[in-house]
């Protein structure tokens, strides 16, 4: 009886099983065959494409699996497909990454850990049980710690890994402490049961406030929100650039998925929300204001510190902190529109941020430097690269006709709609601030001549294809944005949310 139901549930769990299988297969291939880099990366690609295809039949399914541990719903499917697109992109990036050339003998472990990290993100996006959530987060984090220090011959890579582990351990510890108090208060780890207890029983304010502060530390660490961001610049700068890209896009998205699902399922009054037609916060503490303050801090600190950066990897790290702040605006407003706008922004952010990192990687491959001065005169030396970078940067700023504008538009519109006027205003102000440092790179590329003679940067056809694949959506979604908006609106359907 029990085994039968488990077997039936496994049908919906195929994508995760495929990823686990790919993980084991890559490790075995690395251990027992001579196949090194191309073999294992091909396996990763095959595995992720197979997982992608197997996610597709679960679109539209709404089901709780394994005794309420995870949910299969449109929200989870969105994030699964999102992290798979990232995984495929990063695998293709890795083939061109100069930093990884020195560690080709270890590439089996590299790809295996990437796949394990994606599996962790799958579970993070679909967990509806606190134990499951913590395990998923640890799976993602542990893989990320190792990958950040993957080029261990480089001193800053080891430093990045160690810093990441230390910060991560403290953040998980605090998160677990918060969860233990929450369990003590409500007697359950299931999101829906906790929600039920919170709605029925009058619980005192102080412990609940503490619980949410502690949980926010854990979530904030994952999405690198200020003041839990201090690991981000060092890790992003020290890690191999492919991993930096993966962390800044996929890992952040999974963090948002976890955060949104938790607040949506636990902290919303289910009965009153149905009557009112929109989400009504449940707790005696104003967690929306708490998140709003976090959003403003994250945007402002990220943008202000980015102004002074000379290293592009570090600059993009601070810019990614600021982008987490923008996305938090959507979470704060917490309407359906707000959540949908976060999803729209994530899709847009995927293309533009991966694009910007790809350009930095290509330039670093050829010149061995990520300093802003190496970009001087890039416009005349390598026009395609410079123009692509300009488009990505304009999109990151949020200027039309790029996709970044649409993403920001939806976020701020959602905030205005939910009457968070000051938050939207500060968001716009921050975008103007961000313009300064993005334009500084563009100015260096086109208006400054390089002092020393630098070789022209010629692109391989693979790099051109990858750049094109990221460039086209960044431009096209700036004009034809209705498909992503529609997908986002369909993807906010969550199991257990009326």
């Amino acid at each position: 009886m029990v085994t039968e139901t488990i077997l039936q549930q496994l049908v919906l769990f195929v994508p995760e099983l495929i990823l686990t299988g790919t993980f084991c297969l890559i490790l075995l291939t690395g251990a027992f065959t001579k196949l090194r880099d191309y073999g294992t990366s091909t396996l990763t690609l095959i595995g992720s494409i197979a997982a992608f295809i197997s996610v597709l039949p679960t679109i539209g399914v709404q089901k709780s699996l394994f005794a309420g541990m995870i949910a299969i719903d449109s929200f989870a499917v969105f994030f699964k497909l999102f992290s798979l697109v990232c995984l495929i992109g990063i695998t293709l990036f890795s083939l061109h990454a100069g930093e990884l050339k020195l560690v080709r003998t270890r590439s089996a472990e590299y790809y295996a850990l990437l796949v394990a990290m994606t599996l962790g993100m799958f579970l993070m996006a679909s967990a509806t049980h606190l134990l499951m959530m913590v395990l998923a987060m640890e799976l993602t984090s542990l893989s990320a710690y190792v990958l950040a220090g993957y080029t261990k011959e480089a001193a800053d890579s080891s430093e990045a890994s160690l810093k990441y582990i230390l910060y991560g351990a403290v953040a998980s510890g605090l998160l677990l402490y918060g969860i233990s108090i929450l369990y003590g208060l409500t007697g359950s780890l299931h999101y829906t049961t906790i929600n039920h207890v919170l709605a029925v029983e009058p619980l005192s304010r102080v412990p609940l406030a503490l619980v949410f502060v502690l949980l926010l530390v854990g979530f904030g660490f994952k999405i690198s929100a200020v003041p839990f961001h201090s690991w981000t610049p060092d890790v992003y700068e020290g890690a191999p650039i492919t991993i930096t890209t993966f962390l800044s896009v996929a890992s952040k998205a999974a963090g948002f998925a976890m955060l949104i699902r938790f607040f949506k399922l636990v902290c919303v009054n289910p009965v009153a929300s149905v009557e009112a037609g929109y989400s009504i916060p449940l707790l005696p503490i104003d967690w929306q204001l708490l998140l709003a303050v976090l959003a403003v801090l994250t945007m402002t600190v990220g943008n202000l510190v980015a102004l002074w950066q000379e290293n592009l990897k570090r600059l993009l790290a601070y810019s990614s902190i600021a982008h987490a702040g923008y996305m938090l605006i959507g979470v704060v407003s917490f309407t359906d529109k707000g959540i949908a706008s976060v999803l729209v922004y994530l899709v847009v952010y995927l293309f533009m941020n991966m694009g910007a990192f790809l350009v930095v990687m290509v330039v670093a491959n050829k010149t061995g430097s990520e300093d802003i001065r190496t970009y001087r005169g890039l416009g005349s030396r390598s026009p395609f690269l410079a123009i692509a970078m300009t488009v990505f940067l304009i999109s990151l700023t949020g200027i039309p006709p790029t996709a970044g504008f649409i993403g920001k538009l939806y976020l701020f519109a959602a905030a205005l709609d939910a009457q968070w006027y000051w938050l939207a205003f500060l968001g716009v102000l921050n975008s103007v601030l961000a313009l300064y440092y993005y334009v500084r790179i563009i100015r260096n590329m086109f208006l400054r001549e390089s002092e020393s003679a630098v070789p022209n940067i010629s692109l391989t056809s693979g790099e051109v294809l990858l750049l094109g694949a990221l460039l086209v959506p960044t431009l096209v979604f700036g004009i034809f944005f209705s498909p992503i908006v529609e997908i986002a609106q369909k993807s906010i359907v969550m199991l257990g949310v009326p």
């Binding site: 993980f23 394994f66 005794a67 893989s143 402490y177 208060l185």
Partner: protein
């Protein structure tokens, strides 16, 4: 008679608590790494005893087997085999003492205050339970099947990661020559 036996339990309970706390302090404050490692033995033992008080017999045995029998021995081996470290003072300097004390006192005070004053949810317990192992086994293969399996993935990743970080490179000379 009844009264007396309760007292014995209570006295023993405080005995185990004090063992745990004192040895934990030694672990943290001792500057001698071998002394810390041996003090950890008593901490693990004390925690195992506390599990017995919580009717978690299986957990207590596992604590003894895995932590005292396995992990602690591994730690001691690690310390002994890297023989340079036995007599070397570990760097345990403290920075920013005043802010740290204030922060720790504030957080500690809040946590203790909440633990003390909060009305915790008390779940009904069944007194008929004799041993917990069968129920744990059943739950691990039904309700908690997925976390159980995912935990194995987490451990696998940790193993692979540890190997990747610790492995000595054979082609070190080649790579340095290339670069």
């Amino acid at each position: 008679m009844m009264r007396e036996s309760i007292d014995v339990y209570t006295v023993l309970f405080y005995f185990f608590v004090s063992i745990t706390l004192v040895s934990a302090c030694v672990v943290v404050f001792s500057r001698h790494i071998v002394r810390s490692a041996f003090a950890l033995l008593f901490t693990f033992f004390g925690v195992a005893a506390l599990y017995v008080y919580l009717f978690a017999d299986f957990l207590a045995i596992t604590q003894l087997l895995v932590y005292v029998g396995g992990i602690l021995v591994l730690i001691l081996f690690g310390v002994m085999l890297t023989n340079k470290q036995i007599n070397v003072d570990i760097k345990t300097g403290t920075l920013h003492i005043v802010p740290a004390i204030i922060l720790a006192a504030a957080i500690g005070g809040t946590l203790v205050g909440i633990a003390w004053s909060n009305p915790w949810m008390v779940l009904p317990t069944s007194s008929s339970v004799k041993t917990t192992a069968p129920q744990i086994g059943e739950l691990l293969l039904t309700t908690y099947l997925l976390p159980f399996e995912v935990a194995s993935m987490v451990l696998m990743v940790a193993l692979v990661g540890a190997v990747v970080i610790a492995r000595r490179e054979k082609n070190k000379k080649e790579t340095t020559r290339d670069s």
